[in-house]
Amino acid sequence: MSNAEVARFAVPPIEKSIVVRCDLERAFHAFTAEIGQWWPLQMFSVTQAKARTATIEAKIGGRIYETADDGSTHDWGRVLSWSPPSGFSMTWHPGRIGGPHTVVELSFAAENGATRVRLVHRGWETLGKDGQGMRENYNGGWDKVLGQAFAGHLERAA
């Protein structure tokens, strides 16, 4: 395999950005404390149609989880850093907890009277990279992100 081919496998992190018309504090609060009001549970959740709400616990080490209609909770990750209103980061491994993980970082910045929200999802992109240079905590990333959380999703799509 040529070096060029190898390079093509080094998939970069996912980066997203959106501007919302509210101030910084409001944006951070809406994203975190109100995640249950806007997160597209039908599109992304462990329990799919049974999912009722999502929660981010506002502290380092706090859980990010969904609650199903039977009251059961299903972890998506843990809060790694918490700096309201400028940002927070979380591990991301829906359906499983502990061990290696991928990381999602959110940052909020004032911009022309509105707020820019940036999202970076990294750690899952190492597939295909040289294992020698891979950071240890990436090793199980695929397991966490791409594993059980999507099982129901995939069964529906099949």
Binding site: I18, R21, R26, W38, F44, L127, D130, F150, L154
Partner: protein, 103 residues
Amino acid sequence: MTNGLDALAALSDPTRRTIMQRLRGGPRAVGEIAAGMTISRPAVSQHLKVLKESGLVAETRQGTRHYFAIAPDGIGALRSYLDDLWGDALAAFARHVEKERAS
């Protein structure tokens, strides 16, 4: 058929993730992939079939030997799927914020 969902399904299995890691260094024959694994060679072949169908792995022949390699297109589809997911989530967040402003 190749799409992000197929790739996610294929990678939900730990053995298949191990196989993908072994293919990081370049194309491998089944025997090389199976070396040192605790499952049988036919089982490895079955996993390779699933990875192939998901678009993550491509098979090539050189004479009588079959080689398997990571297929960049399949990984692209997977990234695209996750990219869409976050895009939709942020769009839903923006709608939530705007809705409150309007009310």
